[in-house]
Subunit: 254 residues, 2 copies
Amino acid sequence: METPSSSGIKTAAVLVIGDEILSGRTQDTNINYIARFLALKGIDLKEARVVGDDQGQIVAALNALRGSYDFVFSTGGIGPTHDDITADAIAAAFGVGIGYHPEAYALLEARYGKNEFNVMRRRMARIPRGATLIANRVSVAPGFCIGNVFVLAGVPAIARAMLEALAPQLPEGPKVHSVTITASVPEGRIAEGLGAIQSAHPDTAIGSYPFYREDGGFGVQLVVRSRDFASAEAAALAIESHLAMFGVAAQRAI
Amino acid sequence: METPSSSGIKTAAVLVIGDEILSGRTQDTNINYIARFLALKGIDLKEARVVGDDQGQIVAALNALRGSYDFVFSTGGIGPTHDDITADAIAAAFGVGIGYHPEAYALLEARYGKNEFNVMRRRMARIPRGATLIANRVSVAPGFCIGNVFVLAGVPAIARAMLEALAPQLPEGPKVHSVTITASVPEGRIAEGLGAIQSAHPDTAIGSYPFYREDGGFGVQLVVRSRDFASAEAAALAIESHLAMFGVAAQRAI
């Protein structure tokens, strides 16, 4: 199911920026949310990286990802405090200057009022040259887009609002159809037939995900993915026949 | 607080392998768990990457990470099914052969019995040459260690059991002390003083994490981290004085 950019399918990467993810303080949820957002657009998320609040690390990762994929979505590091260094790092990665963006400045000044719009809050109006703003209906301070990079906040509610705002800018591609079959069988018992089914259905990607529940229940979720609905359906039916041959109860999760 | 490897502080990276993370089907929790495990060992997690079930991607990411950090922990792709390609990819990354590991083979044969130890389950005994096994008390199939790379299962309960098994092999370094102060104030109001406190306490890393609750509550968590307990404490006291000056109620989360 590999779909290189030349096929017309767009690819993307996520770059999560923040010491709090690497220290274990914070469980990231932005990668998963962006993955599901991109799936609905028909864009393939191909890679994600997490780096700390370190300009060298951010620049290196950003330049690697923006050169390899059609779009990059970063999260984190665009607030008012000293540890928010993403805008400067992005400007450095692109080799452009950075300064107050008049529209961002005006939005933030209106939000805080002249008296409360202090020097640190003004930092949130510093945007790399040539970037366009991404609206933030939660806390006003905008994200921005430069080249093929979308720079979002780290707070999940704000990152989500920014995705909603930028969505119309993204192309829509053919979506991946996904069929999930849950079966109460150890995956190793059915694995040989499953491999044969994968070989016979090269337009699909079949994933096998075992689970172990605390109540002692176990089994496997078999996930068929394809941009061609009929191919996905044919592979799913082949899996169901295979399971029936083993006398295994199975059900689809739609 | 940058602590290069030459300081004696060990560094690590996590490589998550699996289409299910990038499709959005599965919320990864292994990065966060490994981050907290490493923090307790005094090892700095510096980077994490997520790639799909694709040998080229796995090899490229693995070789980049193992060359940059003291340790790499991979998760995912070591089961019995066709989509489990991690062991082969790791062998390719190291340029070594792969074959049945006698001890792994014996363990798995004993687990399944000769009749149920089919060709696909035998795949789980295929280990790159020169690797040593990592015990798995949950489902027997072992992980392995080769060079500075620890190869773990993707199922969280099994990844955790493998970490427990390999823990004695890891060095113990000085741990990072962390003080968290929660305050009901917008971070932008206290940001200037906070930046000054960061500058005055260079042995610490001070992170500022705003939060917005659904009930309308908002505020900030200020996290001071340092390998020197007295430095962390001094910076935390400076932050508490700063907050008091603004008349902001604050409390430590210990």
